[in-house]
Symmetry: C2
Amino acid sequence: MGRWEPDARGRLERAALDLFVERGFEQATVTEIAQRAGLTQRTFFRHFADKREVLFAGAGQLQEFLVGTVASAPESAAPIDAVAGAIEAAAALLQERRDYAQQRQAIIAVNPELQERELIKLASLASAIAGALRRRGVTDPAASLAAEAGIAVFRIAFERWACQAGQGDFPQLIRESLDELRAVTAGK
Amino acid sequence: MGRWEPDARGRLERAALDLFVERGFEQATVTEIAQRAGLTQRTFFRHFADKREVLFAGAGQLQEFLVGTVASAPESAAPIDAVAGAIEAAAALLQERRDYAQQRQAIIAVNPELQERELIKLASLASAIAGALRRRGVTDPAASLAAEAGIAVFRIAFERWACQAGQGDFPQLIRESLDELRAVTAGK
């Protein structure tokens, strides 16, 4: 183990995001990221498998949070309400890191490989949520449909939120998008 | 150009699927596929970029079909009904190739790389459908939500259909899954 580096992970994350924005994801190297953060390449690889993982390191935590929140919804909650509660709570957390989230989104939006990785992340989230619903006794296809609907709402609300330069309220956008999905599926 | 090979494409497709089922997608080689089809490797590469593309060669056609069907829905049709009409019509076509579709699904189900490719294909279909809805004057987020809802319904109905050894009616499963999505989003 190397010496203790205060907040090495956070410094690497910020350096990486800045470099991805300045030079593009493809062009930025791990060496540059470490340098910018005032750390070594070795320290980088203690925290991240590669530069792509800087952008996806939070996926496991998000999944755990969503699954945990679905699991702890009131027993009487309808599947869609359990899912809505979880994605709204996640949105409230992400909102605290708006700058990070918006920067990350801008980087992913211009890179097809990162878009694919993001797609796979969202599909994993949907299947983890469906699993959490099944453990609450929800049968299929309702469990899968509620999870897929939730993730579609999350993704679309996220895009609207991340593209707004300013003040949008992410949990509020989730609620609006879910209402819109209800209206759309009802054929309105 | 080589000599004319009657139904070379179809023969390669069938040989590839059989080999993928028998030996696994990873293990089967292009040489074996061509041999099994009684054709040369060169003929294979005139039809497909690689062995993975045998499984995804129909994606462009499916997309064109869905976009065209959404575009030609009656002007008065609600977005979700335009989408539902398109995926039901696609399901009726796929139903004519049930054996192929079920074999393909079984191959993809056990290979994470193919699952990712399938995910990307479905995301492209959703975004093409959303585009077709926008050209009908549907605004966002309704266009994206209707398209995402349609693809979620398609995917879930497809899985139910492909897993049934026997008689399931795919367009009927689409209608049932859409009803179920309506019930789920309504909080039932």
